[in-house]
Amino acid sequence: MSRIVLRGENLWKSFDRREVLRGIDIELGSHEVVALIGSSGSGKSTLLRCLNLLEPIDDGRILLNDDDISDPRVKVDAVRARFGVVFQAYNLFPHLTVLQNITIALRTVHRLGRSDADAEGMRLLERIGLADKARVHPDRLSGGQQQRAAIVRAVASKPEVLLLDEITSALDPELVGEVLALVRELGNEGTTILMATHEMAFAREVADRVLFLDAGVIVEQGTPAQLFGAPKEARTRDFLRRFAA
């Protein structure tokens, strides 16, 4: 495997008394696209949120390019800026224009000047074909357009890892394609991606590796061909059968 970008070791997390993550070990190689599958409540979203410190972990260690980011002395805001995150419900800022949404981190976190940030924002919008929507507010965009804008907002500051949290679950089926096409493109360009997803066909096509998460543990992992073609564990087979049905 190539150089490790992100490594989680023995990650534990519980909410109240409910253990959501129970000793997860996860590695993400440079330029790797990894899909995280599992039924809802299996801990996929929590794992993503713990990795970029949106949720504090109860135990374990997280290394981002060899920096221990789970050390309490690290600056949390600076660490989060090294990740890109896209959420299920887009979470664009409704009071800002599409362009302002994309440039807000460039300007406040990365201290880019207005014209530089705007130029970069426009370049990204042109790329996803939304340059004409730069000055409108997100509520004028379709769900697919909003999610694509959210994706370029996340990659605008060139994060070391891109975390995608079921980004197509809130979309009408006809809009899923355009969003996945953008993710595929980013993956082909070498962006390191960890995505929680229910799109099995997409995971199979785009991911280099698939992890199956159940009840807070990684039950099985492997290439898409291995995991979808010949799952070893009974739980994996059960899960995939339910999805195929």
Binding site: R80, V85, F87, H95, T108
Partner: protein, 288 residues
């Protein structure tokens, strides 16, 4: 050619009939409304001018000569009210937002600040404005902190800011809490700090949500600026009092009242319009 190109739509007989019916209905409603309003106004008017004391009341409250004579002084005082209002509104905006921000801080480190802000809003929302005016306007000068005498309207402005900030802080806090947590999550995920998130993401959305309530507080403050007269500042109310005392006629009070209403009317209309617009937008159902 005329066969395959459809003509522009022309309303059918049925539709024209429906429209005529609706027009007749509307005409009737308007006629009834106008007639009933006129009848009501006439009855009120006749009752009023037939009351035994009407001529005295008319003379001592609605006397044109007193009105004209009182105008310069009362209007001059009214300009002071406007000045106080502008300064107080700016002060409340800053101080109220600060209080709201303090009350929504998280973590044990900020407990003293949070408790202080909570205690402050409790105290000043409970305390009648007039008592705050007396305490600030007569109490603080009594400490003799400065050599020169600070004018009464300055103390009045401070008292208004102290009291109204408590109300406005609570309104803004409600707005802050109404912003969906996912917005904060998205902002923090981009690496924005807590303060940057509050300033750039949470507050702009919070203020928008509570603008009608804030405008209401502003309207309320517009008339409460008249209370600074109790400290001796020569505002519209105080000027009217002086004119009344010399003319033995209450018309100057009516004049001051009319000025306050005229000041408030645009804001009241604006609030109504904005609230209606906000309601329309929210009821369109988009989650955005």
């Amino acid at each position: 050619m005329t066969d395959n190109v459809r003509d522009a739509w022309r309303p059918s007989e049925i539709e024209l009939g429906r429209r005529a019916f609706r027009r007749r209905q509307t005409g009737r409603s308007v006629a009834i409304a106008v007639a009933s309003t006129v009848v009501f106004a006439v009855i009120v008017w006749i009752t009023l001018i037939n009351t035994p004391g009407w001529s005295t009341v008319q003379q001592s409250f609605f006397d044109p000569a007193t009105w004209a004579k009182a105008w310069p002084r009362v209007f001059g005082g009214f300009l002071l009210n406007i000045k106080v209002l502008v300064v107080a509104a700016a002060g409340v905006a800053v101080f109220g937002t600060l209080l709201a921000a303090l009350r929504t801080t998280r973590g044990p480190v900020f407990f003293p600040l949070r408790a202080l802000a909570a205690g402050y809003t409790d105290l000043f929302r409970g305390l009648p404005l007039i008592i705050v005016l007396y305490l600030v306007g007569f109490g603080i000068p009594g400490l003799r902190l400065t050599q020169t005498r600070i004018p009464a309207e300055v103390w009045g402005t401070i008292a208004l800011i102290l009291t109204y900030s408590a109300y406005v802080a609570e309104v803004i806090r409600a707005g802050i809490e109404a912003v969906h947590p996912s917005q904060v999550l998205a902002s923090r995920a981009l690496g924005l700090s807590r303060v940057a998130t509050l300033r750039l993401v949470v507050l702009p959305q919070a203020i928008r949500k509570v603008t009608p309530a804030l405008m209401n507080d502003f309207i309320s403050m517009q008339k409460d600026v008249g209370l600074i007269s109790v400290l001796g500042a020569i505002d519209a109310v105080r000027a009217a009092q002086i004119e009344t005392a010399t003319a033995f006629d209450f018309t100057p009070y009516v004049l001051a009242g009319v000025l306050f209403v005229l000041l408030a009317l645009p804001m009241i209309r604006l609030t109504d319009w904005y609230s209606a617009r906000l309601r329309r937008r929210e009821q369109m159902g988009g989650l955005s």
